[in-house]
């Protein structure tokens, strides 16, 4: 079931939670709403669910497939909703929690109790919790509770599955497992789902497409790899990972900032260049294009790459570089060492107030 939002806006009192926005989600797609807290992502999800009403003016619309659900009550929208803190019914067993949607149906349409039992058992099997049917939510771990809440949401075979920070309250390992499991489930059952997260990694790993939001606006909608490679603007670039900044004056094809110099192909004036940590190369002597002297202040060799923190008197805030272990050993990097940086590439976003993709990627010559 596809989802189409048109001109949806929301204000709480004087605060604008959502500026009027459009969004189209395809049938069977798994879409992540990504943004910092206060970006409006949860509000958007709750509006799709019908738990929140969009502003009456300007009049917007919400369609599930061909069905106009703008004025349809939550209980009739045929959605499944998974809450951040599970929101299981604490006084009901796991079985009764999952069966709730079925047993709450009006008598005319309600399946027989035998059929309900069979369906709940199928769901329990799906979330691998068969032996926990008679337990109460308080007796389960966070990951198990979240699986119950997923089974409960899927019991009515909803057209659309909505998840609000589904893994936010779980520890890293469980989160990783559940993510993989959800992706699997989604590919198998092929429902349309939208989930909210503030975790870039989660959004990029799980989604078919990611919607990046800030301040109640959509900044960019794209597939994960394109989003990472071609951020539409500075916000998206900064939100998706660590960023190193170099600000200085450009004259005669060279950007200077204190004792630092970098050859650039830019017009004269003030410029700010942005670089990812893995785009910085650490070398022992300056090159003819780059003279960026730095001092190593911290080294963290944990993981696939070594994280090196760099400082210099021409830097307003420290830089972070990630280097391969081979390079780390070759250069024998240690705290207090003086090195030079050569950026492999950098980006600049001309004017952030223009919300057009203005990012330009330039390889350093």
């Amino acid at each position: 079931m596809s989802i189409r939002l048109k001109n949806i806006a929301k204000t709480f009192g004087r605060n604008t939670a959502l500026a009027p926005l459009d969004l189209a989600i395809g049938d069977g797609e798994l879409v992540g709403l990504l943004g910092p807290s206060g970006s409006g992502k949860t509000t958007l999800l709750r509006i799709i669910a019908g738990l929140e009403q969009p502003n009456r003016k300007p009049a917007g619309s919400i369609h599930f497939g061909d069905r106009d659900v703008t004025h349809v009550h939550v209980r009739d929208r045929r959605i499944g909703f998974v809450f951040q803190h599970y929101a299981l019914f604490r006084h009901m067993s796991v079985f009764d929690n999952i069966a709730f949607g079925l047993t709450a149906m009006p008598r005319r349409t309600r399946p027989s109790s035998g059929e309900i039992r069979a369906r709940v058992h199928r769901l329990l099997e799906m979330v691998q919790l068969e032996e926990f049917a008679q337990r109460y939510p308080a007796q389960l771990s966070g990951g198990q509770q979240q699986r119950v809440s997923l089974a409960r949401a899927l019991a009515l075979q909803p057209d659309v599955l909505l998840l609000d920070e589904p893994f936010g309250a779980l520890d890293a390992k469980v989160r990783q497992d559940l993510r993989r499991w959800l992706r699997h489930l989604h590919d198998e059952l092929n429902f349309t789902s939208v989930f909210v997260t503030h975790d870039q990694e989660e959004a990029l790993e799980l989604s078919d497409r990611v919607v990046v939001m800030s301040n109640g606006r959509i900044e960019q909608i794209d597939e994960p790899d394109r989003l990472y490679r071609n951020p539409a603007n500075r916000f998206v670039f900064e939100f998706l990972g660590d960023v190193n900044r170099l600000e200085g004056e450009v004259r005669d094809g060279e950007l200077t900032c204190g004792t630092a110099r970098l050859a650039v192909d830019l017009d004269e004036g003030r410029e700010e260049l942005l670089m990812r940590p893995h785009e910085l190369r650490l070398i022992e002597a300056p090159t003819e294009h780059a003279h960026l002297p730095v001092c190593v202040t911290a080294v963290s060799p944990v993981g696939a790459e070594v994280r090196v923190e760099l400082e210099a008197d021409w830097l307003a805030e420290p830089w972070l570089a990630t280097v391969r272990h081979a390079d780390f050993e070759r250069l024998a990097i240690r705290r207090g060492q003086r090195l030079f940086v050569e950026p492999r590439r950098w980006r600049r976003f001309a004017d952030d107030r223009v919300r057009q993709p203005t990012g330009r990627t330039v390889a350093s010559s």
Binding site: R75, A87, R90, R152
Partner: protein
């Protein structure tokens, strides 16, 4: 290094003082009530208890209580639901208004009702024209009792419902539950103990209310005399044993209430440690 209160002598002194005060101010009067009630033997106690007017007073008190509890039960749940689940202008004000019966002296409450619903009152005059009498009759007693006890249920529910939040209810709605199903299967099971606790407190107050009732009742023996009022009447008649018999009955109800309340608290504490 000794902590404060570690000295055995001070500790013993403080405990002894607390026990002595409790015995003197709480236990002794209670014992005295029962001692006085049985002062002239069990037969006299029964005779006093089965006195026509005493029985009428007991009956009226139970009748008023039975009418008050359901009204305040429904009203309290409704109010708590309104205040914790919706946001609307005046919500804060409403929350403050709930406490008025606690803040105002019951006698003042009685007088206000008399002023409004008495024969010469603003609403009472109109009612009188339609031959309806509220004051100096049982409906008046019920009205002021409801007024005096209306905060109990709501006061118990509001903090609990605020703490529980509305996530479970939202979950139930996304699963297609109708309003009534939602209340019956999700809200009610979560608040039932607090609700029962509120009812117990309402019951205790409704049975024992004196000030407000005495203003609007008129104390007509056998008609508008509740048990607390009856105690006073008997005492003024120099029927000390009779007065204390009725008082002992009230004290007994109070004790039962305390036991029920303690039982519920014990249960709640056990549930908390289990969860």
């Amino acid at each position: 290094m000794q902590r404060i209160g570690d000295a055995p002598r001070i500790r013993r002194l403080l405990i002894g003082l607390a026990l002595a005060l409790a015995a003197l101010f709480l236990l002794l009067p209670l014992v005295a009530i029962f001692a006085q009630a049985f002062a002239e033997g069990l037969a006299m106690f029964w005779a006093n208890l089965s006195d026509e007017y005493t029985l009428a007073a007991i009956g009226l008190t139970l009748f008023v209580t039975l009418l008050t509890i359901p009204v305040n039960l429904v009203f309290g749940v409704f109010l708590a639901w309104l205040v914790t689940r919706f946001s609307f202008p005046g919500r804060r004000l409403l929350q403050t208004l709930i406490d008025i019966p606690f803040a105002v002296s019951p006698v003042v409450a009685g007088l206000v009702y008399l002023l409004l619903y008495g024969r010469n009152g603003w609403i009472g005059g109109w009612l009188d024209g339609h031959d309806i009498q509220l004051m100096f009759a049982w409906p008046g007693i019920v009205l002021v009792t409801i007024f005096v006890t209306c905060p109990f249920v709501a006061r118990e529910l509001i903090p609990l419902m605020q703490a529980q939040g509305s996530r479970e209810e939202e979950a139930a709605v996304t699963l297609g539950a109708s309003g009534w199903t939602l209340f019956r299967r999700v809200t009610l099971p979560n608040i039932k103990w607090a609700l029962l606790y509120g009812v117990i407190l309402t019951n205790a107050r409704a049975v024992g209310e004196f000030g407000a009732v005495s203003v609007v009742s008129g104390s007509i023996r056998g008609e508008t005399n509740t048990l607390p009022l009856h105690v006073e009447l008997l005492y003024q008649d120099y029927n000390t044993v009779g007065a204390f018999t009725a008082a002992a009955l009230l004290a007994l109800i109070a004790l039962l209430t305390l036991v029920a309340k303690a039982g519920l608290e014990w249960r709640a504490a056990r549930r908390e440690t289990a969860a």
